[in-house]
């Protein structure tokens, strides 16, 4: 009977009983027939048959018992026996369970992180929603928003999509009613945006077609958060109006809190309308639209992509193209929202945690082998008493499973701690904080933990179980002496340890490469000094500051007042901070060949007040910086960066030339004379190659949106409150972003990297410690086993030094084997890891140093963990060792 059938029998006893009954009835019937053939009367024949058979009920019962009870009983017995054995050696059990708990626990933690971040979106059929993105090989960009004319062109032409909706997150609103003035993050979305995603409002409605008409009354949808924060969850909010940037909007709906996860957090949504100007393809359009597109049924993402590619080619050929490097493509929405790098990172973390678990398995397997050796007699007795080898394996595996499940249970505790830690570490910015909320120990994580636990039992337990059961000879040998250690177990243990060394080597190399890479990336020369700088973002309310003059007056006065704050050395203002992704504008340089407007080069655009360079410690390379005389009405001035000089100016001469910048989509171009050259400053975190930058005077080009910056002589955090109060004293209705230090901004943009580095460091240290324990364990164990042998050697005149090196050599052998296996596995790692770091841009982590340094380090740790048992061996008391047994 098959194993499965036996299991099935446990649950369907009746069918087994029926089968047995049929079998027994057939027997009695055949005997009766034979009796009749032999001449008996039918009744007597039947009676004789029953007498010969015995009580059918009893027979049936005992037959059924033979079928069903065996397996269940013996499993119960084995488990009880196993638990008893585990309790009898608490040190072994505790060590094994704790290592397993740690190993499985970190895997469960990383899994909950990955499953929280890569969770499917809560929208209708997320698989069929794509994002139309701009791509640019020059900027290594494949997720850029696209421009209005191209969006409208695609929306009219593309056949693959049932509908398309655009989102523009570039606008924010000031609100000053119902509490503190505040800047609200808004998304302008096509009216069909919510319908395309298949989400509904929790109250009121989402947008309707026509909500975007300019002659309609203006409508707004609130986020759950804003509704709660600013309106106290007023149930009658629908139909009320709120003032945004001084204009009246009617609230038509409130979105549920869960909707946040479709895109970055927003406070409110308003309908997106395209002006006629934006519809003209000739208009220079900024790339600021994220375009969602739902595939028609039956259309694959690849088909849609092919269509967009060909439409884009047609579009480029026919009309304008800002730069021939730009193209368009379609990306699945989930890939768009969770960057590929996040997926790679999760895969990396999962793999690394998996390797740590492998090393744990190696250690526990080693422990089991050692324990098996001391249980040899026990198993020999059991074999002699009739237990089959299979039965012993089964029993050992049940013990291992018990261990693994115990480890798995404690692993849940470890994971609870791990998740708490991850959440705390994810608090670096609002996206991190948002994801932190999704990292939980849920059913999926628990199932993962269970599966990993069971898999672990197989991984660490199967080899030892097979090995131990093979060596359990059914014949008992009395008074067995261990003159030399049994060859088999130590060989298997050696293989395990060598494997661990190889695994640790691969893991450490990988971690080192990534950590080094991230470190280099985080510590690139960014061209400015972020320390002791405090910043605050503002967007002047358009109803109050409706002219350039008013904006200029506000900025000038704000900078003056901040400058006077105690602790402030120097204050300035800028439209964009470094590493904050300043806007890109097309420009032309005097003396360059005249090109079509759409073929002009692009530069990052900053409008700054005179002291900005000094506040940020941006070095002036040539010419002069701005000063107070570069004010409105004076000749327009500009600064450019080194990349500008290198890439744009053919002869390296830019000073005195006129650069013409088009700031507004259709506004008049601004011309300014280049008066200075400054060093390159990072436009965004981790920028590897610099683009041209143009700085103009903020006094000559006032803006409603800017940041105040100040270099401080005291701890910059102490200025957060005074800075805020200063702005409030200027205009109590003016909203201001919470002031932040430049270091905080950098941390915010680095947070993810920091977390990854932190985790990799933990895993690397764990792996190293585990391997050290593993090596120590196996060497110390062999020393114990060879106690007597060492005694004999000493008796025969071996010197202590010789014994020491003998033991050290056995460790060295393991290390050499580990290196021989591990080093070739490490060789492809630099290339693999390089992929994570945009190797195309020439970014290099110092791979040679890592490839030599890590093995060296592993060797040192390995030898150090051999040292202790080797020392002990060399100090063995000869007489004691020989009397030992």
């Amino acid at each position: 009977m098959s194993f499965y059938r036996r299991i099935a029998n446990l649950f369907s006893r009746s069918s087994v009983e029926r089968e047995i009954e049929a079998e027994l009835e057939a027997h009695i019937a055949m005997r009766t027939e034979d009796n009749i053939t032999a001449g008996m009367a039918p009744e007597a024949a039947k009676r004789d048959a029953l007498v010969r058979f015995g009580n059918p009920t009893v027979v049936k019962e005992s037959t059924a018992a033979a079928d069903t009870a065996l397996l269940l009983d013996s499993i119960r017995q084995d488990t009880r026996y196993g638990i008893h054995g585990l309790l009898k050696s608490p040190a072994f059990t505790a060590t094994a369970v704790l290592s397993l708990a740690l190993g499985i626990g970190i895997n469960a933690s990383v899994y909950s992180l990955a499953s929280g971040i890569l969770r499917p979106l809560a929208i209708r059929d997320p698989g069929s929603v794509g994002v139309v993105v701009g791509t640019n090989s020059t900027y290594d960009e494949d997720h850029s928003p696209i421009s209005a004319p191209e969006l409208l062109f695609l929306r009219d032409q593309a056949q693959s999509f049932s509908e398309m909706a655009a989102l523009d997150g570039s606008r924010s609103f000031n609100v000053s009613e119902n509490g503190e003035p505040e800047r609200l993050r808004s998304f302008q979305v096509s009216p069909n945006y919510f319908q395309l995603l298949g989400v509904t409002a929790q109250m009121g409605r989402t947008f309707l077609p026509g909500d975007d008409h300019p002659d309609q009354k203006q409508v707004v949808i609130l986020s759950q958060d804003l509704w709660q924060r600013r309106f106290g969850m007023d149930p009658g909010i629908i139909g009320k109006t709120m003032r945004l940037d001084g204009e009246r909007y009617t609230v038509v709906g409130v979105m549920p809190a869960s909707f946040k996860q479709t895109y970055y957090p927003a406070d409110l949504w308003i309908p997106l309308a395209f002006s006629d100007e934006q519809r003209t393809p000739q208009a220079l359009a900024p790339r600021q639209y994220v375009v969602f597109a739902r595939l028609k049924p039956g259309i694959a993402m690849t088909q849609a992509r092919a269509e967009v590619h060909s439409l884009d080619a047609r579009y480029s050929a026919s009309l304008l193209k800002h730069s021939t490097d730009w193209g368009a493509s379609v990306t699945p929405m989930e890939e768009y929202l969770v960057a590929r790098s996040a997926r790679t990172t999760m895969a990396l973390l999962m793999s690394v945690a998996g390797v740590v678990l492998l090393i744990v398995c190696g250690n526990v397997g080693g422990l089991l082998l050692a324990r098996g050796l001391s249980r040899e007699k026990e198993f020999a007795i059991r074999r002699a008493l009739g237990a089959s080898r299979w039965r012993l394996i089964r029993q050992l595996m049940l013990e291992n499973l018990t261990l693994a499940l115990l480890g798995g249970s404690f692993a849940v505790l470890v994971a609870l701690g791990g998740v708490r830690l991850l959440r705390a570490k994810l608090d670096f910015n609002e996206f991190g904080a948002y994801f932190a909320g999704k990292i939980i120990i849920d059913a999926r994580v628990l199932i993962f933990t269970l599966v990993v636990s069971i898999g672990t039992a197989l991984l660490f337990g199967l080899l030892p179980a097979l090995d131990i059961s093979r060596r359990s000879n059914p014949t008992l040998q009395e008074g067995q002496r261990t003159v030399t250690s049994g060859k088999r177990p130590s060989r298997l243990r050696s293989v395990l340890v060598a494997g661990q060394i190889a695994a640790a080597l691969v893991l450490l190399t990988c971690c080192s490469l990534v950590i080094k890479g991230l470190y280099d990336l985080d510590n690139l020369n960014q061209g400015f000094d972020p320390k002791q700088v405090i910043t605050a973002g503002l967007q002047l309310a358009p109803e109050t500051y409706d002219s350039a003059g008013k904006q200029r007056a506000f900025v000038t006065e704000a900078v003056r007042r901040v400058q006077q704050l105690p602790g402030v050395q120097l204050a300035a203002a800028t439209t964009d901070l470094p590493i904050s992704g300043a806007r890109v504008v097309p420009f032309s340089l005097e003396g360059q060949a005249i090109v079509k407007p759409e073929d002009r080069p692009w530069a990052r655009y900053y409008a700054i007040s005179p002291d900005y360079l000094h506040v940020m410690h941006i070095e002036l390379i040539g010419g002069r910086g701005f000063n107070a005389t570069d004010s409105a009405g004076k000749p327009a001035v500009a600064l450019v960066n080194q990349a500008f000089v290198k890439q744009i100016a053919s002869n390296g001469q830019v000073l005195g030339k006129t650069v013409t910048v088009s700031i507004a989509p259709s506004g008049a171009p601004t011309a300014a004379e280049i008066v200075g050259v400054v060093e390159n400053v990072s436009d965004y975190q981790g920028q590897l190659s610099f683009q041209p930058q143009i700085y103009v005077s903020l006094a000559q080009n006032p803006a409603a949106r800017f940041s105040l910056v100040a270099r401080t002589s005291v701890g910059e955090k102490s200025l957060i409150l005074p800075l805020r109060q200063t702005i409030r004293s200027l205009d109590k209705n003016q909203a201001i972003d919470n002031p932040r230090t430049m270091t905080q901004i950098i941390t915010t943009s680095l947070g993810g990297n920091k977390l990854v580095v932190f985790l990799l460091e933990i895993f690397a240290i764990l792996a190293l410690v585990l391997v050290a324990i593993g090596i120590y364990g196996v060497i110390a164990f062999t020393v114990n086993q060879r106690n007597r042998e060492i005694g004999v050697r000493m008796a025969l005149g071996a010197r202590r030094q010789r014994i020491f090196f003998m033991v050290l050599n056995s460790g060295t052998k393991l290390v050499v084997i580990g290196l021989l296996v591990g080093v070739p596995l490490c060789l492809p790692l630099p290339r693999l890891v390089g992929h994570m770091f945009q190797a195309a841009t020439g970014f290099q982590t110092h791979t040679i140093a890592v490839l030599i340094g890590v093995p060296l380090f592993v060797v040192i740790v390995a030898l150090a963990s051999t040292w202790v048992p080797a020392m002990r061996a060399s100090k063995i008391n000869m007489a004691e060792a020989l009397h030992y047994e």
Partner: protein, 108 residues
């Protein structure tokens, strides 16, 4: 100490029977043992079945439902390779037992 209880003997008889006759149902095994021992050994026929099912659990024998010559449905048993090995072992054990018992009887 080899297994030499009565249960072991019954197992031996069943295994040997199946080794000689190929495939048999329980009743057929009883008849064969009776014939072979000239009715010297007669067991309570029902007690054969727990033994058969136990041996099947041990993978010594395998079973299959089939029709008898008289067209009755019966469960047929046959030896597996593991059973054949077990038979050799059991035969050897039995001979040891007989030898042992004989030598005791001789000196009694």
């Amino acid at each position: 100490m080899p297994k030499n209880d009565l249960q072991g003997t019954l197992d031996l008889l069943v295994l040997k029977t199946l080794a000689q006759s190929g495939s048999l149902h329980g009743y057929g095994i009883v008849l064969h043992i009776q014939r072979a021992t000239d009715s010297l050994l007669s067991v309570e026929e029902g007690s054969l079945y727990p033994a058969l099912h136990r041996m099947e659990q041990n993978h010594w024998i395998a079973s299959q439902w089939a029709l008898t010559e008289t067209g009755r449905k019966a469960k047929y048993y046959k030896l597996t390779p593991a059973g054949r090995k077990q038979l050799t072992e059991a035969e050897k054990n039995f001979e040891d037992l007989v030898k042992g018992v004989r030598s005791v009887l001789r000196y009694a």
